[in-house]
């Protein structure tokens, strides 16, 4: 019989239709289209097509906006939001609006067009995490911004328009509703129990083990109790930490390993799926708190969101997280 499960943080219900019991091989996995030989503005040598870099990790002695980099961060060339200008919040009758201030940046994770986070060296993945941290720290100084959303679209069906490995950062003058709901959900739990809900989830999942995908000294990768999507996986620090940017160098080494291992497990089990991942961290000006716990949510693109999901806010997940975790845990991967 299908099962309704409630996400303890957001109160969101999902339908785990376990009788459909989809195994990895049951998904019609669409192969990503690759444009062979096409022009790529992210390739080394094409730096002239991007706006000037905001941040780059490059070989000593190499010139900015020229080859010789390991990772570059550039502003979006055609941004939807503008970085320049003052915030101007106004009311129009009962409606609220403000001018479109924001920062939209692209983290070009490697000069190698064909590399992926799963195939890069662990140090290169660590550099990506450091770049996230460096950019958050810089944007936090801008008092107009309240949140920096970092996400990755991998594969065309996950929304990536280029196959060259990259992530994006959008700094916003408001805390997004979805983030606010999650932080407030964690706060409500904290007020009731005086404990971080995510810490409780990590402890309970590691004790039970049935939804554990992987674990190392600092991080746990788990299939959440009420996942919206098949093979949805979260990576959380095992110790309480409210803000990603406060992670220690040791944690970044550990996270790079855990992220890469998890992506490799997904690649093995689901044959290189398209996926989105999103870094969930505390909003600016409330970074240091007892109730929220930063983490990364990885969502392979295996199902479509349609009318029922849009209308109800429910999600139908055909793969129970216990089964997804077992497939991922038992995947034979080559460790970095």
């Amino acid at each position: 019989m299908p099962e309704l499960r409630k996400d303890p943080i957001l109160g969101r219900w999902v339908i785990i239709s376990s009788e459909r019991g989809k195994r990895p091989s049951d998904f019609a996995l669409p192969q990503d289209r690759r444009k062979e030989g096409g022009f790529c503005p992210f390739d080394s040598g094409n730096e002239y097509t991007t706006p000037p870099e905001i941040l780059a990790y490059r070989d000593n002695g190499t010139e900015a906006n020229k080859p010789g980099w390991k990772l570059r961060v550039v502003p979006n060339k055609f941004p939807a939001l503008q970085i320049e200008g003052a915030l101007d919040r106004v009311g129009e009758g009962m409606f609220d609006k403000m001018n479109g201030i924001g920062a939209h940046e692209v983290i070009i994770e490697t000069p190698d067009h064909d590399a992926t986070l799963a195939s890069m060296s662990p140090k290169a993945v660590e550099d990506v995490l450091w770049a996230y941290r460096d950019r958050i720290m810089d944007l936090k100084r801008d008092l107009r911004f309240r949140y920096a959303l970092i996400f990755k679209n991998h594969g065309i069906i996950a929304g990536a328009t280029l196959e060259h490995s990259h992530s994006q950062l959008i700094a916003l003058p408001i805390v997004p509703k979805r983030v606010r709901e999650e932080v407030d959900g964690a706060l409500t739990y904290y007020k009731y129990k005086e404990r971080c809900i995510f810490c409780d989830i990590v402890h309970q999942e590691l004790d039970a083990g049935t939804r554990v995908v992987g674990e190392n000294s600092e991080f746990a990768a788990i299939a959440p109790f009420a996942p919206r999507f098949p093979f949805e996986t979260w990576i959380l620090p095992k110790k309480h930490d409210s803000s990603f940017e406060d992670a220690s160098p040791k944690q970044f080494v550990s996270l790079a390993t855990m992220l890469q291992e998890t992506l490799r497990r997904l690649d093995v089990v689901l044959e290189n799926p398209a996926y989105n991942y999103i870094l969930h961290t505390s909003p600016f000006r409330e970074e240091d708190n007892e109730y929220y716990h930063w983490h990364i949510e990885i969502m392979p693109k295996l199902t479509k969101v349609a009318g029922f999901e849009w209308g109800s806010g429910f999600f139908i997940n055909p793969t129970p997280p216990e089964e997804a975790a077992r497939f991922l845990r038992e995947a034979r991967i080559v460790r970095p």
């Binding site: 096409g38 022009f39 503005p41 060339k77 055609f78 939807a80 328009t161 280029l162």
Partner: protein, 121 residues
């Protein structure tokens, strides 16, 4: 005088751009399809192309942009579109400008002036 190739499958847009850009001091050649644009690029010399990103026939705008950059790497292209989704397509970064289609050509003319001043020898 700088020469601009206007590529757009809508006759009204070609006429509007032709008149306004001519008034602004440019020589304007119009192409109604990718095939016409390709022939014009082979036979004439241009300083800039305005490219409608979604035309009825031929390759989509991002692919057309790639083809232009393959054959004429130094030729600046300003993408013109009524569709917002292309703004998120990093393939558009090969273009020098991106303008949302409007009957008010102020922004387009500003972009053209800026791009031409950057690419001036």
């Amino acid at each position: 005088m700088k020469t601009i190739l206007v590529v757009d499958d809508e006759a009204n847009i070609r006429r509007l751009y032709g008149e306004e850009l001519t008034d602004a001091g440019y020589r304007v050649v119009c192409a109604a399809s990718w095939e016409e644009a390709r022939r014009a690029l082979e036979s004439d010399r241009f300083d800039l192309v305005t490219l409608d990103i979604r035309m009825g026939e031929g390759p989509d705008g991002i692919e057309a942009l790639r083809l232009i950059k393959e054959s004429h790497p130094a030729l600046p292209v300003v993408l013109v579109t009524a569709y917002g989704e292309y703004q998120a397509d990093f393939g558009s970064w090969a273009a020098e400008g991106y303008v949302v289609k409007s009957s008010d050509l102020t922004e387009l003319k500003e972009h053209i002036g800026l791009v031409l001043s950057r690419s001036a020898p």
